[in-house]
Symmetry: C2
Subunit: 255 residues, 2 copies
């Protein structure tokens, strides 16, 4: 009998070309598919991920699914895969879900974290996990600017030029800026994000906090759709996909 299996996946993206399979580089998806094909003997097994994270981006709560005829108990896939995967990829949970579960299309919310390291010298210990900001930041200006993102907006100004999305309306439900010196942590939760959107938001907030960009630039970008109102795309290594949410009913096993 064919079953659909959901995986919750953690990875350090430093060594990978990103989530998505590519012809000339090693991706997280490829490592998972190789291990699952070996484990099940199914050469046509494909893994679908919730978010196609870029090279260098990390995940604590990436979600994925695959279909299989294997009889391995659903909750045992995580343990079996972790004996085969490299140590910078771990499957935290595996479970049997209904066919209505689709890692990408069923997702109703995603949380990302962006970590800045604000210090005259870069971080030796945490360098793969954060982006370095040399100058001090106006945290209150960053907080005030970040709140302009809340709500349902057309985020076309926040999409990288390679973006294929036609519908650019998204809803940001929560954003928080936490000062944990020398770290500054941004958390953002929304219904979905355009390509590079979180990194453009992070780069823009740092621009406002350092005085390189004027306060209110996010409001102007939302109103005009103009990418040039915004700051640079912040480096990949500061970004971590924390969590993907789904409607409860699609996460249950088929009855």
């Amino acid at each position: 009998m064919r079953r659909r299996i959901r995986l919750i996946v953690e990875y350090n993206g430093t060594a990978y070309s990103g989530w998505q399979r590519q012809s000339n580089a090693v991706s997280v998806q490829q490592k998972l598919e190789e291990s699952l094909r070996k484990l099940t003997g199914e050469s046509e097994l494909y893994v679908v991920g919730a978010s196609r994270t870029d090279a260098g981006v990390h995940a604590l709560g990436q979600n994925a699914h695959f279909d299989t005829f294997s009889r391995i108990p659903a909750d045992k896939f995580s343990f079996a895969l972790n004996t085969m995967l490299p140590p910078d990829i771990r499957v935290c949970e595996s479970s049997c879900v209904s066919d209505a579960f689709h890692a990408r299309f069923s997702a109703v919310g995603k949380e990302y974290r962006y970590l800045f390291y604000v210090h005259p010298h870069s971080s030796a210990l945490y360098r793969d996990l954060c982006a370095h900001v040399i100058y001090p930041l106006n945290k209150e200006a960053i907080r005030a600017e970040s709140e302009l993102l809340l709500g349902r907006h057309d985020f076309s100004a926040f999409a990288a030029s390679g973006s294929e999305a036609k519908d650019t309306v998204r809803e940001i439900k929560q954003i928080s800026i936490r000062d944990n010196a020398p770290f500054l942590e941004m958390r953002i939760y929304g219904t979905g994000f355009l390509y590079n959107m979180v990194r453009i938001i992070a780069g823009t907030l740092i621009g406002v906090g350092s005085g390189k960009l004027e306060s209110g630039c996010i409001g102007r970008a939302l109103a005009t759709g103009d990418r040039l109102c915004l700051g640079v795309t912040a480096p990949a290594q500061g970004l971590t996909l924390m969590r993907v949410d789904y409607p409860e009913e699609v996460c249950l096993p088929p009855t």
Copy 2:
């Protein structure tokens, strides 16, 4: 004029054979000395560190000193060195100190952190920074056991067999166990530590927390000096040297 310069050094120990120079492996001390010799043109420049951390052990606040005839302003050494050092070693501060300052012999206190990752699966994202504990832990038993370490004791049972220390009396002034699930963080502050002492303490507390060792084993080890009362030496990568304290007067520049 010869001056003594103090450095505060941060490093990720993963790629190094430890602090101390060795003939067949790359150490943090060697990387610092190579950069300083290039910078000053002084081929006989040597760096003295506060703590000879093991291979894989990290530091956020290692201290070191060296003597030089160079006229580079003391506070500029950090910036100059950071352009030459690999990104997993950073000099956070450099300052001119009196000749009474000796990174190792003037130290009056050291703080270490040990990070456990308590989860059925190991951590992909933080794997170089923590030790993996598969089974759940009794945190109250760990806290109670840890308090037996407080005060001035003969810690001979806590020294690895290669230890050369003759005087094995040390004073532990503070120890704390912080639950930040899935992490468990131990912080320990004392006048000094024997070789592998913090890792033996960490391994013993995990033994008590998991039920493999009986409560009170630390008291018995202190009373008898018997290493066999204690647990295994916990892995290097969970350990970070946080801070080294010195008397205020030796940290001032010469008058």
